[in-house]
Symmetry: C2
Subunit: 467 residues, 2 copies
């Protein structure tokens, strides 16, 4: 039987049918983003572009992230007392949103800069002896507020081919946690336990595991197990436990750890489906960092939000951030919370979408609609749609239900501007008020204007461009 | 947008589109199985039937299987030296196939009845001091050859509402293992380690875990994580490890177990994606046993194969087996093996399909086509097709990609005979020669004739039927 379907403007049905391997002839057309025609034309004539994008994609897809260590940020990032890392593009205290403020206040108390987190407000307002810096500027990423302080233990991932490393803090679980802006006594007690017990034991386990865990490979398996690795990390968390638990047990005799602490750590990790997110994120960053700084490449290498601004970085434009106002996600809320309680989009976790998973891979994780909202056909259609704004399919990260098609990988600024299709991100939602914690989860996009901004900068950089 | 599609005889496409929530009008028709018209008419007039099937389904769906113990078969099944349980319907030594023979020979050596497994042939031929009995006759199930001997440790599952229990041996892993008919020194060494270390440690863990593991609930999660719980049990195995590992670690101080043994057990279980199968099977049997013995019910309560015969039992016909020749699966082969090396279908594991998972839930586990063959659209279409021969959808076991539709549950003998659609089973393939082990995995159906047999018996039992 040969079946052919022609669709006009019925994207969802076309996507659904295409997902079932029926030939579909697409005849829908979308106008480019307003005001981008000249820059699109300029970038289209950049003769470096095809090869530059090929190189950026190849470098990104060539990275395998191995888990090589766990250690305090003071050691591996050289972070000193008073230095705070945060998610998203650079921001000053005055412009920070509630959840980032709350996390900074809790972080200051954790480091002993203040006794009471409330006292940290004056400290940050004064600006003396404290400084804020994006995680991304230190080869790190942080979910939600993404606050990292010197005493926090970090996952260390390495690309063995180049020796390059990326870093991420350990995941605290859900609800009232620092990364969602909560800073109560429970939050600080948990963070201290993570520093005293969880970090050292994970370090012993990672150092005691004969073959380093292949995080990129676990991501391959996760995509066959209903995880999209942003808001579903269930299978990933379980595979990490599987890989590390024998060495954890070994550390009882070998490292003098208490068996009660080992059991507590197994329970803590096993009880937190999101634990692996903090490994998925630096694995994605490690891959994307390899695609940075290729002159002429229009590939996005970072998307990140600080709760106020949404920023992107692009391979062909170096470390420059293109920013616009972070949007509020649409989705499902916990308990009595509603849209008015939600802070705008926050966190470095959109690095997963930048690498082609998370919102880009929702077709492989349809159960996620119960968390972030939307329908199953939407989830399938979203992955299909993201192929229209990306440069490649990732052969190692495939979606079984789409007949093992690789995930849409490498967002192309030109394609976004030409189609008006924005990258789809799924995300947790923090309460707008410092101290509240998580209020829901949902779907969000970057502010549209940052892509024309980036395109303009790419157009400016085209050699021999007539002005 | 409202889309409507009319299909004639294009089942796969219709299933695929229906899977995407597009309205489909089915106009295809299949003839009933030859010679079943009179019995179908008789059963259709049985006024007990609707209520009987409702009761059988309700009883089955009402069962929650908790993991309550691990103990030797001698203790929990009262199995004595010389007594052997096996998969499938009853069979005598003379008619056994290679893999069942191999497993019985290995089992005899494990129990010390013979020194050399080869010497067991004479023992079974003589028939003195040995006896064979189906697992199903002792509330147990066994994958592949399904041989259980007194010293083997068994999972013990309980339906707390009724106190009923079911049992299954521990999974050995893949390749050269007893259940696939291998009986070499490695096989016996592993079985002895399972008896000396794995069983006792799992017992300590299960008894030391505060809240008994809800196996039915883990199956719910598995179906959202790409497992169909027959030939994919990856997520299930990992969730079991998560649930039991803290108590395993606790047994080091509390129970005097060596930390090296705990680490070995974590590695053994973590290295065997199929480990959870031996919990999925007795959970399915526990549910189906609750649906047994309802007069007038046409629901299948067991499908099982001994490597020679394929047998089913039906709720309305008590313990009677309806049998026909087991078929050879079609699928993918390991290494240089081919179809000529494969034994006919064997094992009690088709209890998963009987309960509505395994082959019936392949839509939720499309990655399985890489193991058992077929295509992703086939996998989606198969689950859809099984709804045509089943009585209910299981609300606890849903398929996200089919918009959370419950799995097709409760095979109806009448519907099978009326449509000619046979239950779809996916399965491992054992080598036909005793001692070989696994040769592949594939797809298989029961022999068609056993359903008209069962239908005839149901028709005979209709009260007031004119002969």
């Amino acid at each position: 039987m040969s079946t052919s379907v022609v669709t006009v403007g019925a994207g969802m049905f076309a996507d659904a049918v295409a997902g079932q391997a029926v030939d579909v002839e697409r005849v829908d057309w979308r106008p480019p983003m307003p005001g981008t025609q000249d820059d699109l034309a300029a970038v289209a004539t950049d003769r470096r572009r095809p090869e530059a994008n090929r190189r950026a994609v190849e470098a990104m897809l060539g990275v395998t992230a191995h888990l090589v260590d766990v250690a305090p940020a003071s050691e591996v990032l050289g972070l000193e007392k008073g230095q705070f890392l945060h998610a998203g593009p650079p921001i000053e205290w005055e412009r920070t949103s509630g959840p980032l403020r709350g996390a900074l206040m809790g972080g200051a108390a954790l480091e002993g800069l203040v006794e009471d987190p409330e006292d940290a407000v004056a400290l940050f307002e004064s600006g003396s002896s404290v400084s804020l810096e994006p995680c991304h500027h230190r080869s790190a990423v942080g979910p939600m507020a993404g606050v990292v302080t010197p005493s926090m233990w970090m996952w260390v991932l390495e690309d063995r081919a180049t020796g390059k490393r990326t870093y991420c803090s350990l995941n605290e679980g859900l609800g009232k946690v620092l990364r969602y802006g909560a800073y109560g006594p429970d939050v600080l007690t948990r963070l201290r336990w993570m520093g005293d017990v969880l970090g050292p034991l994970l370090q012993a386990a990672v150092r005691g595991t004969e073959e380093a865990t292949d995080v990129t490979g676990i991501l391959t398996q996760m995509l066959q197990m209903g995880d999209e690795a942003h808001n579903r990390n269930r299978a990933g968390t379980l595979m990490l436990l599987r890989d590390l638990s024998p060495a954890m047990v070994g550390s009882i005799e070998g490292g003098g750890f208490a068996s009660k602490d080992v059991a507590d750590v197994l329970r803590f990790v096993g009880g937190n489906d999101h634990f692996f997110l903090n490994l998925a994120m630096p694995a994605c960053k490690l891959a994307l960092d390899a695609g940075r700084d290729v002159p002429g490449s229009t590939m996005v290498v970072a998307m990140a939000r600080n709760g106020t601004d949404f920023g992107i970085q692009v391979s062909g434009t170096g470390d420059q951030w293109f920013t616009g106002p972070a949007q509020v996600a649409e989705g499902l809320f916990l308990g009595d919370y509603g849209p008015d309680d939600a802070n705008p989009d926050i966190g470095d976790s959109a690095i997963t979408e930048t690498a082609g998973i998370g919102g880009f891979a929702m077709a492989t994780a349809p159960a996620i609609v119960r968390l972030v909202g939307g329908s199953v056909p939407d989830a399938l259609a979203t992955t299909r749609r993201m192929h229209e704004i990306t440069l490649a399919e990732n052969p190692r990260w495939s979606v079984p239900v789409l007949e093992f098609q690789g995930t849409p990988t490498g967002i192309d600024v030109s394609k976004v501007c030409r189609t008006g299709i924005l990258p789809q991100i799924n995300t947790g939602m923090a309460g707008a008020v410092a101290g509240v914690g998580q209020v829901g989860a949902g779907l969000v996009t970057p502010p549209a204007e940052i892509f024309p901004q980036a395109l303009a900068a790419l157009a400016q950089a085209v050699p021999g461009r007539s002005l």
